[in-house]
Symmetry: C3
Subunit: 209 residues, 3 copies
Amino acid sequence: MDLPFIEIIIILSTLAFAISATSSAMRKHLDIFGIVIIAFVGSVGGGTLRDILIGNTPVSWLQNTTIINTVVVGMLLTLLVNRKLKKINYTLFIFDAIGLGLSTIVGVQKGMDMHFVPGVCVALGAVTGCFGGVIRDILLNEIPLIFRKEIYASVSIAGGIIFYAFTYFNFNEKFSQLFCIIFIVVVRVVVVKYKLSLPSVYVGSNKDI
Amino acid sequence: MDLPFIEIIIILSTLAFAISATSSAMRKHLDIFGIVIIAFVGSVGGGTLRDILIGNTPVSWLQNTTIINTVVVGMLLTLLVNRKLKKINYTLFIFDAIGLGLSTIVGVQKGMDMHFVPGVCVALGAVTGCFGGVIRDILLNEIPLIFRKEIYASVSIAGGIIFYAFTYFNFNEKFSQLFCIIFIVVVRVVVVKYKLSLPSVYVGSNKDI
Amino acid sequence: MDLPFIEIIIILSTLAFAISATSSAMRKHLDIFGIVIIAFVGSVGGGTLRDILIGNTPVSWLQNTTIINTVVVGMLLTLLVNRKLKKINYTLFIFDAIGLGLSTIVGVQKGMDMHFVPGVCVALGAVTGCFGGVIRDILLNEIPLIFRKEIYASVSIAGGIIFYAFTYFNFNEKFSQLFCIIFIVVVRVVVVKYKLSLPSVYVGSNKDI
């Protein structure tokens, strides 16, 4: 296959996020156009913010119709299936986790391609993985998923660190990518299944300024 | 007149949005500075996001004092008139619709100038037309107008598609622009007057993940 | 010292905002990772938006590990001290005011370095000073501090205008910077202490469109 492996990861991550974002929008009973916007923002939002931060403009989906088509396919698929199935919470959650894994690796890779320092590469992975969902939640006027109890961004960051380390030590590229994608997806699933959360820090006062 | 027609459209769109944004801020009883921020963000927000996405930076209002002056004029006008009139809901709604029509055309035109594919040009029109209002509503901690019942962004997209088609088939430029601006304004007014909304899609489950 | 004075101001402003943002996050009982995100966004958000608007990308913190380290130091300091002290509202408020003063001057200076017109320079100062807090509040689903009763952005704008005027009339650079930083901090403190607010504008109608 001529398509570079990273491009395949980008398309799969867009598809996974399109499915989860469309479902979120449908649960809010948005009309079809609201669904289109949320599907789009949830799918490309993280990568767009990353591209803006690193100055990679025009941002990638403006020049890549494959991305736009992938969002449309993911949205239509979800609209068709969601009308029939009743209990797809688990399926949707899985697709969000898959999107998180795939897009984190894309973000870290972009950072390494531009020779940023390790911390910045890992941060770009987290931005790519998490901020599509953050912007989606802000548009829907919800407290972003990222700030709720269960570990979310931390999983992305942990996976990003491992991926950076593997690449630094010259592990095989595809192996590193696949391993870290699977790592993030599995850890995210385990975290939610067992309701794991980070230890709370003590706060002396509870009042706002 | 030496000023290009598209520049006139940009100024009128800024003026229309400044009037509607200022009114929104006044209805929220913001202090004068809150009004200034909302007027500014509501007027230039959509174009700014478009400029950022396509990498057209520094964004246009940083280099174009006419835009800034137009926002100030629109804001002062509204502040003066709004203190006297009681029922200006309709007037304000009209200015928002006019701003939507004008700025959509500006966005599609910018996309065509940069030779993006049709879907992207139409999307840039919708971003320019709708996202000033979206950012304004997010700042005011409201669910963006775009996600409420009545058709909003869909009107912008429909007008953008027609404008792209007209241009593609080499219709007279000014005619195409004027026709599509009027189309968007009229459809938006009709939509609100008759409370038209897009058909809802069936949602099997109502629970959040 | 070899470090330019403006670089010192940037670091101190980042530190001050990191302390106030970390405290805000702790008061919301976020987990440690939520605190990391809010600390980071609150510290670099204003400067990042400014850099994006003026096309200064990759944005500065991606290429400047000192900024990232400063955020981490400010966050850890606050986490340690906040666990022990109970009444630090005043301390935190002070650090937010200090951050506002320092970062406003940085923003105006950047605008002048790029030869923007006076109004734009002052606006860039306000963006740098205020929007880290705005984005932080939006992420936490609160009405941004900037829209609440007490004068906030107006202080930044007043300080920015004075700083621009001082520079225009060739006052000593360090004196101008220090004077305006202190001006903003002191005025902000006085405003909050005496609960000063801008005069309200009359609104004829209170209903939403």
